[in-house]
Symmetry: C2
Subunit: 338 residues, 2 copies
DNA sequence: TTGAAAGCGCTAACAT
DNA sequence: ATGTTAGCGCTTTCAA
């Protein structure tokens, strides 16, 4: 009925508790016969050691648990990153404690503290607050923190991010090369770092191409599919309308596709989206995107965290993971002759 | 540098450790002045209590942590269920420790034990092994377990599942009503319970309609998009070919859609899929599906777990969550005149 | 090779 | 209202 303790195992095996500890932890200097006797008793009782009770007295205080705080575990980008992290963690017998911050700055501190109260060995975070300076004291105390998707502010630490500026520039260049000049940029919440960087990449590229500002339409702060669809409809009714749209985020792209479909313009107006879309290849036309390497990002973030846990004390740095342009059709629609 | 303990807070505040404990835990019988002094000291040291050290001596041994073991955290169904569970858990200050079993039976036991070693208060599991009897001892020891997506075998416990049989029957009836008789069933791994139930629902419904067996093609054990596409291509080349396809799972549906598209049959052959598909409404034709209520399933599973933690000792039972037919176009293609 | 004692950070039980 | 002691399950230290 009661969960057995190491002492119960010791009693059943008729040995001292320290011997059980040695066997359970695979420590040396235990005779073969002893080891087998203890293991038999442990199995008979269905004994499972208490990781946290053990860590209490141990020097390193490790719990073999890390925390992952992302925008939302239900979001495809985050859940793919989560999966990649989990694979690396599982190789080391480390469990992942996941939580969604829902882009609410309050939640970031709350969940960081919830993690620390559970004594995680390290933390992987998508920063949501304007400043991460409050984490400096935790870094000092030896808690490694790696950021994903966005760089932290007010703190030197490892970060693993997509090349947002270059990716957006690549998408933009792709449209320019097909003759587009009147291009609309539809972006999500401007307080999100990635949204700003993608806008920057777009602006830099059109600037290099010498496109006059009057030909551009820059819409920001689209927060969902609905607002994006409305914005796309409005943009297309301007005179003269854009011949191409660059949408800087997943949901925005979907909203744009839906709006163009309803306007009967989906075969006429070129679209490139940032962040891949499930089944993008089966849409009509298939949608061209700048895809992020979610697996690469997750794997690298986990590797950085474990490197820190293994003693790496080099200064924190940002790792930029390249994006890929996937040409499927919507982005290859040429500009109409003038 | 070192992480402060409750004793450090007590020393700084110049009080006994038990007073700090009372303040931190919001226990009564502490003067206003004392409380403020302790909180000031705790804040100055950036103190965070150790949940597990506390639970060690506490009567209930609760850690305010639950484990969630699903097929894959990157899978849309699972990650939506995860998010719903997390919302209920967060209301109670409970953290969720998530892991993917990747449909590998070995992983189920491994991760259950990994969870128990971390002393989770309860477990929500998508069963992957053929039998869950090994968990009986844990139930006895007071660890509540709730199953999601599939029912357990060899164990009486709560389970929250979609109405797979009725959902599949509904999809089948929908096709029958449009005059289809030659219908193909494409299902995933037959060792997965939901795959068998959906096949059963299909067979029961065609049976009720008196469709001769010779008109049906039943393909199972499709494990991914590629094998599903191949199977669909093969099925459509039979003579006479089916006029409708019921695909029993997400990836299978995508494979079917891709194959029909390549064969130029996507506007001719009716398709209904089990489990919704992101952007299914933007495909051409838009895809008709039997959607599962992921949020309802996750919320209910979490509610059942917490009800058990709150003392509910009623016998375990299965909760069946209804599915919804979403008519978008592909399922409404009529059978050709004979 | 084995085991006894002390103590990790905290709470329960019992003082005061 | 506040503090003291013992002990949760385990590992460390040290002795046998």
């Amino acid at each position: 009925m009661r969960r057995p303790t190491m002492r119960d195992v010791a009693t059943l095996a008729g040995v001292g508790i320290k011997t059980v500890s040695r066997v359970i932890n695979g420590e040396p200097n235990v005779s073969e016969a002893m080891s087998e006797r203890v293991l038999r008793a442990a199995a008979a009782l269905d004994y499972q050691p208490d990781v946290h009770a053990g860590s209490l007295k141990r020097g390193d205080r490790r719990t073999s648990t890390i925390g992952l705080l992302v925008s939302s575990v239900a979001n495809p980008f985050d859940s793919q990153v989560h999966r990649a992290i989990e694979v690396v963690a599982a190789e080391r017998g480390v469990a992942v404690f996941a939580a969604s911050l829902a882009e609410d700055p309050e939640n970031e501190r709350t969940m960081v503290h919830a993690s620390i109260r559970r004594r995680v060995d390290g933390l992987i975070i998508t920063p949501t607050r304007p400043d991460q300076g409050y984490l400096a004291v935790e870094l000092d105390r030896g808690l490694p923190v790696v950021f994903v998707d966005r760089e932290p502010t007010g703190l030197m630490a490892d970060a693993v991010v997509s090349d947002n500026v270059a990716g957006a520039a690549m998408a933009t260049r792709h449209l320019l090369q097909r003759g587009h000049r009147r291009i609309a940029f539809l972006g999500d919440l401007d307080r999100v770092q990635t949204a700003r960087l993608r806008r920057q990449g777009f602006l830099e590229e059109v600037g290099r191409a010498g496109v006059p500002t009057v030909d551009l339409q820059i819409i920001t702060d689209l927060h969902d599919e609905e607002s994006a669809a409305l914005a796309a409809t409005r943009v297309m009714s301007s005179v003269p309308p854009p011949t191409a749209i660059f949408s800087s985020q997943n949901l925005v792209t979907i909203g744009v596709v839906r709006a163009l479909r309803e306007l009967g313009l989906s075969r006429t107006v070129a679209v490139v989206g940032f962040d891949d879309i499930a089944l993008g290849g089966l849409l009509d036309p298939p949608i061209t995107v700048v895809a992020q390497d979610t697996q690469g990002i997750g794997t690298l973030a986990a590797q950085r965290l474990f490197a820190r846990l293994d003693g790496d004390t080099s200064p924190g740095q940002t790792y930029v993971v390249p994006t890929t342009l996937i040409q499927r059709g919507s982005g290859e629609i040429p500009a109409p002759p003038r």
